[in-house]
Amino acid sequence: MKNLLPFEKPIAEMENKIQEFQTESKLTGIDLSNSLDQLKKDLQVETKKIFENLNRWETVQLARHIDRPKTIDFVKQIIPDYVFFCGDRLFHEDPAIFGAMGTFEEKNLMMIGHNKGKDTKENILCNFGCANPEGYRKALRLMRLAEKFNAPIITIIDTQGANPGIIAEENGQSEAIARNLKEMFSISVPIISVVIGEGGSGGALGIGIGDKIFMMEHSIYSVISPEGCASILFRDASKAQVSAEELKLTAKDLYHYQLIDHMIAEPIGGAHRNPKEAIDTVKNQISKSLKELSLLSSESLKEARYQKFRKLASYESSQAFHG
C-alpha cells in the first residue's frame, strides 16, 4: 500500500512485520509459521477493529482514497465486453461521465458513472469526476438509448459534486441536473444507483434516481462536502471534521435513516485492499436486484420509482427521527 491514510498506519506496520518474518524465514530456513499465523490473525483482528470504528471524517478520507476501485474498474469487471460512448450531441464530450454498454448475464446492460481517473494525469483529464452540463446530458442520452433496447441501467456515483465553472453556468448546469432528476422518473427500464466513493450533492444525485440505491460500506453521500459546509455554516474551512460528524453522511448513517436500500459490505480493510472482491460483491447485489426488478412491467416500475421517492425523506418518514 503506497497511499496510506493516518489510521491505516498500524495496519501497514503489521503488514511490514509479516513481510519481514517471511523474508527472514526464507533466508534462514527457520520455520516461523506459528508466529506468522498468529501475526496474520492479529492483523485481521486489528484491521477489522480499525475499520469498524472509523469516525465520519476518516470515512470521508476513505471514500476519497486514491486506490479505491473507480467507475472504470466496475465497468471492466461487470461488463468486460463493454463499448463506451461519447458526447451530448449539443456541445461537448465530458470525460467526467463515463457511459458504456456491455453484456451482463447474457443481456444488455448500460453503465453510467462519474469518472474520477486513476492517476494524476487522468484526474486532470476528467476533472476529478466533477461533471459539466454536457456530462449530465450525455448520461441522459445514454439512458434513453438503453431504454429503447430494454437494457437496465446501473449508475455509479463517485464525485465531489458538479463542476463549479464559468462555462458550466453559461450552459445551464442547473437545468442539466434538474432535467435528469425529472427525466429519470420516466425511464421505463430498471435503474440501480450505487455510491462507490463520494456522493457529492446535486452532482451525484443528477444520475442517482434509482429503483434501488446502494452504498458501499465506506462510501459517503451528502448534501454538501464537509469542507463546503464548514466554510458556509461554520465560516471556518478547518471545521470540516466537525461538519462531517454533523452531516451524518456515511452509508451506516443513511441506512439508519432509511434513505438507502442497502449497504454493500466491503472486504476487511476496505475496497482498496481487495478491489476484485469488492466489485464482485457489488456485482452480486446488482444481479440479485435486477432479477427482482425485471419482474415488474415498465409502467409499474415507473410508478414504484415515483412512490419510492415520494416516501423517501418525506415529511411522514422524517417524523420518526429526532436529533
Binding site: 465553472g165 448546469q173 434538474a178 425529472k182 422524517s318 429526532h322 436529533g323
Partner: protein, 283 residues
C-alpha cells in the same frame, strides 16, 4: 391603532410598532436611503436606481393574486431537527428564530388562488426563513402542491427565492431535489403548465431542481441565479468572472430564461400567458 397601506393590503399596526419599525433603508446598490413606507409603495424597488429589494411572501402574494382568493394548504407543516445538527447555532434554535422573524412555519407558503381570474396552484418562497432553503417541509409542500395541481388539472406557479438545499437536514434535504422534480414531471406529463419566477437569489439545489423545470422560466431584473456560488467558481477556476455573471440578464443572454419581468408587470403577464394556455371556451 392606525391604518396604512403595505402593498395592497391595509394593515393595522399599533403606533408604538410603527415607531420601532420606522426604518430608513439603505440601498445596497446606490446607497440612497429610503423611508420603508415609500419603498413598500414602490414595490420594494429603490426609487433612485431600480434596485430590487427582496419581497416577503405576504407582499408577493398581494402583488400577484386576485385579492382574497388565496387558500393556503399544508400551512401546519413545520420542520424539526432530524439529525441533531449544530453549527454556530443549534438547528432547533434556527427554526424557532426564523418562525419568530417571519411569522411563518417554513420557507414557503403554498395554496390555490386566481390570477386575473385564472385558477392556479401557487407557491411563494420566503427568503427570510433560513435563506429560503429547502429541507423536508419545503420539499413536501412543493410535492403536495404539484400533486394537487395535477389532480385539479390547473397550472402551477412557483416564486423562487432560495439559497439552495438546507444543509442542516443533510441527505434528507438533498433528496427533496429528486422528490420535487419527480412531482413536477408528473404535472407536466399531465399537460399542465409549470411556470417559475426566479427572484434574488435562486441558487444551488433549488436552482438545480424545480426552479429550472419551468415550461416557462421568468426572472426579476438583477436577480442572482446560478448553481455554484460565484466565490467557489472564482476560487476553483482562478479566472476572473465575466461582468454580470449569474445575473438574470446574463442567463437570458445564454438562453436559460424566457423573460425578465419588472415587478409591476408580473401579474398582468401571468394573466396573458395563462389566457393562452388555458383558453376558456367562449360562451
Amino acid at each position: 391603532m392606525i391604518t396604512f397601506n403595505r402593498g395592497n393590503i391595509p394593515i393595522k399596526i399599533k403606533e408604538q410598532e410603527i415607531i420601532q419599525s420606522t426604518d430608513w433603508i439603505k440601498c445596497p446598490s446606490c446607497k440612497t436611503i429610503t423611508y420603508h413606507k415609500q419603498l413598500a409603495e414602490n414595490l420594494q424597488i429603490c426609487p433612485k436606481c431600480n434596485y430590487y429589494f427582496k419581497m416577503n411572501a405576504e407582499q408577493r402574494l398581494s402583488l400577484l393574486v386576485d385579492e382574497g382568493t388565496f387558500l393556503e394548504i399544508n400551512q401546519e407543516l413545520s420542520s424539526h431537527d432530524i439529525l441533531g445538527f449544530v453549527d454556530s447555532k443549534p438547528y432547533k434554535k434556527r427554526i424557532s428564530d426564523a418562525e419568530e422573524k417571519t411569522n411563518l412555519k417554513e420557507a414557503i407558503i403554498t395554496g390555490t388562488a386566481t390570477i386575473e381570474g385564472h385558477p392556479i396552484a401557487l407557491g411563494i418562497m420566503e427568503f427570510e426563513f433560513i435563506g429560503g432553503s429547502m429541507g423536508v417541509v419545503v420539499g413536501e409542500k412543493i410535492l403536495r402542491l404539484a400533486e394537487l395541481a395535477t389532480s385539479k388539472n390547473i397550472p402551477l406557479f412557483i416564486v423562487v427565492s432560495s439559497g439552495g438545499a438546507r444543509m442542516q437536514e443533510g441527505m434528507f434535504s438533498l433528496l427533496q431535489m429528486a422528490r420535487t422534480s419527480g412531482a413536477i414531471g408528473r404535472l407536466q406529463q399531465n399537460n399542465n403548465l409549470f411556470i417559475t419566477l426566479l427572484t434574488n437569489p435562486t441558487t444551488g439545489g433549488v436552482s438545480a431542481s424545480f426552479a429550472f423545470l419551468g415550461d416557462i422560466i421568468m426572472a426579476e431584473p438583477g436577480a442572482t441565479i446560478g448553481f455554484a456560488g460565484a466565490r467557489v467558481i472564482e476560487q476553483t477556476t482562478r479566472q476572473k468572472l465575466p461582468p454580470k455573471f449569474q445575473t438574470a440578464e446574463f442567463l437570458l443572454d445564454h438562453g436559460q430564461l424566457d423573460k425578465i419581468v419588472e415587478r409591476k408587470h408580473i401579474k398582468r403577464l401571468m394573466g396573458r400567458i395563462l389566457s393562452f394556455f388555458y383558453r376558456r371556451e367562449l360562451a
